[in-house]
């Protein structure tokens, strides 16, 4: 059985204790909401897309260390990046969580940075949903922003 250290890496606990980009944004920022019906976790993503760039992102809601740290890392990773790059990262992250959405194999050449630490979650299948919650919510926010 994998140990707790495989799941709760230091950097994860750091993002959990000091979440990045925490807060909310007023319209015209778009807002999307994700729920994990299993454990009651809730994530809110506020997003401003300007000229094809993720100009600003804030994260609200409450949840476990995995869902919260994943959201925090995600916000740091996509802020200031082009929308396509953000979408590619969503695809890559879900692939890392062994969620097969079809489509092409993601390009894994660029370093993942802090997100690498979430790799251990795959060994704890019930927690994959926690890790992926914010990413699905971001995908929805990007869809809304593109409308």
């Amino acid at each position: 059985m994998p140990g707790l250290e495989d799941l709760y890496r230091e950097i994860i606990l750091d993002h959990y204790k000091s979440p990045r980009n925490r807060g909310s944004l007023e319209p015209p920022a778009v807002r999307s909401e994700g729920h994990n019906p299993l454990c009651g976790d809730e994530i809110e993503v506020f997003l401003v897309v300007k000229d094809g760039i993720v100009d600003d992102i804030k994260i609200g809601g409450q949840g476990c260390s995995i869902s919260q740290s994943s959201a925090s890392m995600m916000s740091a990773a996509v802020k200031g990046k082009p929308v396509e790059q953000a979408r590619a990262l969503i695809h890559r992250f879900k692939h890392m969580m062994s969620i097969d959405e079809g489509g092409e194999e993601p390009d894994t050449s660029a370093p993942l940075g802090d997100l690498e630490a979430l790799q251990g979650v795959v060994k704890f299948p019930v927690r994959i949903k926690c890790a992926v919650l914010s990413w699905n919510t971001l995908a929805e926010a990007l869809d809304i922003a593109a409308e």
């Binding site: 606990l13 260390s65 919260q68």
Partner: protein
């Protein structure tokens, strides 16, 4: 008969298993209970030697299977002191039993302008079916609120019940552990002219049940929480109500005749038992009832009372202000289902650390989201004890909890 928890444990093979070299500390019986050999063997024996269709075929094996299937019904009837055996109906689980009441009795009796009373501590199974029918029919749902210590606030009950047609409530909260004053609530419903529906899912496994003493109109529960198999539940209802109700599911077994122009219903209980029934599960449920009866439900309740006192005291002594236990602190008013918050550590993270020590608890909203909103949290940790849990399980819980605290010190 004196109660010996070690003897009880020996009846449950899974409790002797080691997982990753460590014993199992099963504290999730409010979710679903473990199974004793008596149940496992009865089902296996039946499948090996006695399996056949029920109520359909004339050969000896089928007649014997039918006798066993109906014998289990009689055991359940005696267990809950039902006046008539044919008032005991097999369903898939408590959820289906509640849906049956709402769809059948509710459709025949509720329309715009009517009201149904529920409480803030209901399981989704006793909320959503009513909301589904209310959306079609336009009747209103009124709610009995809670006191700050997790009991029903009955101060406005007669106003809430005024003009209501049904009062449906849980006998015991699956989150707070609160045991409700069932008799008093049924009496209040009847005084207002409403029927009384008792969701006894968390009560029947843990304390003596007497539907006549309660003076209830409908009572629902699930086999899997009372050491029986999953896949079968019970609806008990008053014969006069069941007779007047339209059928729920249509198909084989529930008819007396079918013509091209229409059908006529079978008598109770078949009227509400469409299709091939959970035959093996009924045999298992009968064995579960025999098992619990031999132990004695007073003994089960007494043991769980002791476990509740010990768990509440241990958690408070060891964790003091770091722990917030929801619900009443009085073990006389509650069952051994204990929900709590521990510091700022998220329940999901706590259960992960507990799982590392084979301590099985539930972390989440416990299918009672309206109640969770009232408690002001998305999730709690819930440790629930049953007849096979011991003081050492309480110690294991506390030890694992302090490990979680160390790990997540914020």
């Amino acid at each position: 008969m004196s109660f010996d928890v070690q003897k009880v444990r020996a009846d449950f093979p899974v409790l002797a298993e080691l997982i990753n070299g460590k014993p199992l500390v099963y504290l999730d019986s409010a979710n679903t209970s473990q199974k004793p050999n008596a149940v496992i063997d009865a089902m296996t024996q039946f499948m090996q030697h006695g399996y056949a269709p029920t109520n359909r075929s004339a050969y000896q094996l089928a007649a014997e299977a039918t006798d066993k299937f109906e014998g289990a019904r009689a055991k359940v009837a005696a267990f809950i002191n039902a006046p008539k055996v044919h008032e005991v109906l097999y369903t898939k689980n408590a959820t289906e039993a509640l849906n049956l009441i709402v769809r059948s009795w509710g459709s025949a009796n509720l329309s715009a302008g009517d009201a149904v009373v529920l409480t803030h501590m209901e399981h989704h199974a006793n909320i959503v079916p009513w909301q589904m029918l209310a959306a079609e029919r336009g009747f209103t749902i009124r709610w009995v609120p809670l006191t700050s210590d997790g009991l029903l606030d009955l101060s406005n009950l007669s106003t809430l019940l005024d003009g209501a047609k049904a009062f449906s409530f849980t006998a015991m909260s699956n989150v707070l552990g609160t045991i409700n004053p069932i008799k008093e609530l049924c009496a209040a419903a009847h005084k207002a002219g409403a029927i009384a529906i008792v969701d006894a899912c968390q009560a029947v496994p843990h304390m003596p049940t007497d539907v006549q003493a309660w003076d209830a109109d409908f009572v629902t529960f699930s086999s899997h929480k009372m050491v029986g198999p999953s896949g079968i539940g019970i609806l008990w209802g008053r014969e006069s109500l069941l007779d007047a109700m339209p059928p729920f599911l249509g198909g084989g077994n529930m008819i007396s005749d079918v013509k091209l122009e229409g059908f006529t219903c079978a008598e109770l209980p078949a009227k509400f038992e469409a299709g091939t029934q959970p035959i093996i599960e009924a045999i298992g449920l009968g064995a579960a009832v025999d098992y619990l009866t031999a132990i004695g439900m007073d003994n089960v309740r007494a043991h769980e009372y002791d476990m509740t006192v010990l768990a509440l005291n241990s958690l408070n002594d060891r964790f003091g202000s770091d722990i917030t236990i929801h619900g009443s602190t009085d073990a006389a008013l509650r069952g051994a289902t204990i929900s709590f918050a521990y510091r700022d550590v998220h329940p999901h993270d706590i259960s992960q650390v507990l799982d590392q020590n084979n301590v099985c608890v539930r972390a989440g909203h416990h299918c009672a989201k309206p109640l969770m909103r009232i408690l002001g949290s998305n999730a709690t940790v819930r440790a629930s004890f049953y007849l096979y849990n011991t003081p050492s399980d309480v110690t294991a819980l506390c030890d694992a909890l302090s490990e979680a605290g160390d790990f997540f010190t914020l």
